[in-house]
Symmetry: C2
Subunit: 597 residues, 2 copies
């Protein structure tokens, strides 16, 4: 079999010459960015050929690359089906990502569903030979329990500690182990996963770990992952499940090491995630989420054996999955709504989590209505010509001043692309400085004085204008297409925002608070949000940021049986409005496409 070697990563592996290079690389765990999921449209999966030969370049691939790139041996890996030994270089390196692990937590009482109690199991005798199972039922005063508990035990007697999930016995330990009780709270985002180790005796967060969701290899967003599942009926679901389960197992290993805690003493893993991630976590088909009428397989909370999906913790450890509302209002949003106590709000509060989907929950004095807006990945830096995720080297803020363009780069590195907050910032600045008009079109450069430094920054690419944000060493462009992507995203979110208010009969003046949640939202300044009209101007001084409320909700559910109950009730209280099916939505959406100005 021919061999691929990756320079700089000291990696090489054999391959069967019937797949494209992107597939081969991803299957061998080599990260290559591919926002379009290998569909041949994003032009991001560049690699450089160093040794050996690749088949000739085709028409579509040629269009997506610059001539200089082609001359230097750069190819798009999704187009190339290699046949022989090659040595390549991966061009996009995966930088250190900035992942939000903290946020606001309201006061609440600790009363974990998981708890321990000490008992004494009497020794059987020849006259009284009762089975271990009978002794357990008698000693722990339970009628029955999962038979698999019996698989974990020799016949132990004497002082033991029972571990209970509510009134259900889930483990028995020798001696008194009541001092040892750990749990894990997890937020699975489509892009990032955050895991926290919790001492359930004190509620203290001992350590956190975070990483990029390993399912990225199967698609960057929810829909491409569902497509992957559909296109790989033989093992797609299993691979996606394995990727996330394995990631969580690794992170648990990591936080246990940091805190010197034995993972055998983790008794519950509490997880918040969007509805698709929850399906993929449990190995449940997510196909129906991807097509109308968007009905998921399940939304209810789950309290199951963690090992049933391969999570490694105490043998009887539970996995608690928070409930969702619908396919596009997931447990992450329910968690956030709970953390913000939307159901108990005494005013009109709007909760928004901005990402590839913008999820909005409106609380009208506790009456809850939600919607989800298909913003697309532009706001996260995807499907943008120079876009990248918020990692080292990404431009995260931009200021266009009289004298020049100032950029702020994550990690203070040489800029190699622009992430979501940077895109928003630059569009906001282009609008503020009137280089882009309210309808989203670039002005003609002729409208500027030739002496204006920005005169040269506006260029024509064919018939379309673009803005050169950085020209060397790497050119970082904002194209007319990029502006359109942002425009579609902002139109989607803003129209959802207004549709909810309209449905609830609340006008802007009566909206008391706007809560911005989530990984991505935390990096969006009020300035940008309002500046490009993702949110209306009037909310600027009503904005509150709550950070990763999804993880916080998982943490609270872990630490309190009462919170679990309340969250489950809350999920039922949130009404869901399908925007596409609501009256007059298309007109509203069109109006919301206009930038403020």
């Amino acid at each position: 079999m021919p061999k691929i070697s990756i320079k700089s990563q000291n990696k090489s592996f054999e391959y069967t010459p019937d797949k494209n290079l992107l597939q081969i690389l991803l299957e061998n765990d080599v990260f290559v960015d591919n926002p379009c999921n290998g569909k041949g449209s994003c032009g991001k999966c560049k690699i450089k050929l160093l040794e050996g030969n690749l088949p000739d370049i085709g028409e579509t691939e040629e269009k997506l690359l610059k001539k200089e790139e082609i001359d230097s041996g750069i190819r798009l890996s999704c187009f190339v089906v290699p046949q022989e030994d090659i040595v390549i270089e991966i061009l996009q390196k995966e930088g250190k990502h900035d992942i939000l692990t903290t946020g606001y937590t309201p006061d609440f009482e600790f009363d974990p569903l998981i708890h321990k109690e000490v008992f004494k199991i009497e020794k059987p005798t020849l006259e009284n030979q009762g089975s271990f199972e009978e002794l357990i039922c008698k000693t722990f005063d339970v009628e029955k329990f999962d038979w698999r508990l019996l698989q974990q035990h020799e016949f132990i007697t004497g002082k033991v500690t029972g571990v209970f999930n509510g009134r259900e016995l889930i483990a028995i330990e020798c001696g008194d182990t009541t001092d040892i009780l750990y749990g894990v709270a997890v937020d699975i985002g489509t892009t990032t996963v955050v895991t926290a180790l919790i001492d359930m005796k004190t509620g203290e967060e001992l350590a956190t770990a975070s990483m990029i969701n390993a399912q990225k290899n199967f698609g960057l967003d929810v829909l491409t992952r569902i497509t992957y599942e559909v296109e790989h009926p033989e093992d797609g679901k299993e691979k996606l499940q394995y990727a996330i389960v394995n990631s969580i197992n690794e992170m648990i290993g990591d936080i246990c090491n940091k805190s010197k805690v034995d993972r055998k003493n983790i008794y519950e893993i509490s997880i918040a995630a969007n509805c698709t991630m929850m399906h993929l976590l449990l190995g449940i088909d997510a196909t129906s989420i991807g097509m109308s009428p968007y009905s998921p397989i399940f939304t209810k909370s789950k309290n199951i054996l963690a090992k049933d999906i391969g999570l490694k913790a105490a043998p009887g450890a539970r996995l608690y999955c928070l409930p969702s509302v619908s396919a596009y209002i997931g447990a992450d949003i329910v968690a956030g709504a709970y953390v913000c106590q939307l159901h108990k709000a005494k005013e009109n509060v709007l909760f928004i989590d901005i990402g590839t989907n913008g999820e909005i929950v409106l609380s009208n004095h506790g009456k809850l209505l939600s919607c989800s807006c298909a913003a697309g990945p532009a706001l996260e830096g995807m499907n943008i010509s120079s876009g990248m995720r918020a990692a080292e080297g990404a431009i995260e803020d931009v200021r266009i001043t009289e004298s020049g363009v100032e950029v702020q780069v994550i990690g203070d590195k040489r800029p190699i692309g622009i992430c979501g907050s940077g895109i928003l910032a630059v569009v906001k600045e282009l609008l503020r400085t009137e280089l882009v008009k309210k309808d989203g079109a670039f002005i003609k450069k002729e409208k500027l004085e030739e002496s204006d430094y920005r005169y040269d920054m506006i260029q024509l690419d064919g018939r379309k204008r673009q803005f050169i944000l950085e020209s060397s060493p790497d050119q970082i462009l904002i194209t007319q297409g990029d502006i359109r992507q942002v425009q579609l995203a902002k139109g989607a979110i803003l129209s959802g925002f207004y549709a909810l208010l309209r449905k609830a009969n609340i006008d802007m003046d009566n909206l008391d608070k706007v809560i911005v949640a989530g990984q991505f939202g935390a990096h969006l300044s009020a300035d940008s949000l309002v500046g490009i009209g993702i949110l209306p101007e009037k909310v600027e001084d009503k904005l509150v940021y709550v950070g990763n409320s999804s993880k916080t909700g998982a943490y609270m559910a872990l630490m309190s049986a009462n919170v679990k109950e309340e969250i489950e009730q809350l999920a039922h209280q949130i009404d869901y409005m399908e925007l596409g099916a609501s009256e007059g939505y298309e007109k509203l959406f069109a109006a919301c496409l206009i930038f403020p100005g």
Copy 2:
């Protein structure tokens, strides 16, 4: 690594030279008889060296072999730790075993716990996006179900068939599949396993398969398998479980093939087995069964997911394990007691299953008392110098007449050993012809006329006498030690028999019926049983044989929810008497050692 080749089996494999040859052979699935489980005491695990060298013979091994055997290259594989390439011959070939798969079945009504119903799942709409889980609960009118059912499904709508285990939904199938409903009944014996495919619509037995319990490689009886588990804490339990689960899976494949049934349409597997086999089947520690006070981990019935122990059938298929009474009155005996309706007996009925353990249940007009007698493996042909299991070449019946000794051999082959029923027959004949006295000792040959053909058949081996049953080509001996083994076994069973009667205050004249159950019992003639005093003479005309009532019980439980309930009640109704702890037992045992005559 050095290599072992097995002549005549065309098998060869590499090995690491740190284990004894018996271990290596068993690990590579080469059957070598080893009743003592490799302890170096039975002298049965003979192999013949054809090429290569083995380490020198030691003192113990030398004692267990004859000089001629040593000279011809025969060794005991448990003593030998090979170091180089060798070619060997396996001496004991595994013949075709005669396994009993049938028996008496009482009339009963079919009402299987597993059943099917047709429903219609409504299509969700944009206005009514209910999850599949919610639709299922509504459509099938269930409150909840095992979440793993969701793993098996895409979002299906329209006509579907629900498979129920009682009121629990366990599977959903597209369309109307109510005509297809299969189940499997299994009897796991320590020695043999019998599996039957049942059409649950009609109760018809479509096919049966049987095989030697693959756990034989880990020990021939219950105690040696427990010892194996104890001595291999890292994976002993898993290996024993895998062996039996794999055997059942193979047999299910076999009977499905024979009947052209898809194993995906098997919805329940109903299993009867002794308590140790049931523990090993479920991967539950059996150690405590092996030591006083003989308390097992569990005795209750189990109705669990078949795939949780690796059984391959319908995805949601159930495994039903019949209940045991105690460590030594297992589900096989409960099944038999149920099949014989002991709890409804209108007279005094004694049920006995004779094997390595003799289990007895006495019904005093429906009041049930049981005990278990450690008979040892002699009655099954083990621990007997020329003993073997009931396979081709085994002497199964013997008659000593005036003119000579007549033997009956299984498969009409050249005799190579003697099985349980043969042992009993020969001992009975030795007693009848007064070659062996009531105390079990051989008579001195001098007591016979020199002209008597039997004069030469009694020989001295050192200081002990023995009887030469066959002299050529293979010598088949009955030694004084063999007689002692039979004597111990018969003493154990007879004393259990009397102890039960005594406890229930029933005398022999008031005992109305004696039911002989089980694989082995079916081959024991009333003649032999009474002739050597395993049972008292007075029962001879009260004997009834019911065959494999363990499998029949599993079948009945499969076919009826009511039977399941009644069997579970029955298990509670059977009192267990621990013989070792009962008053005056040792004296009774001593008295029962005496042979009749």
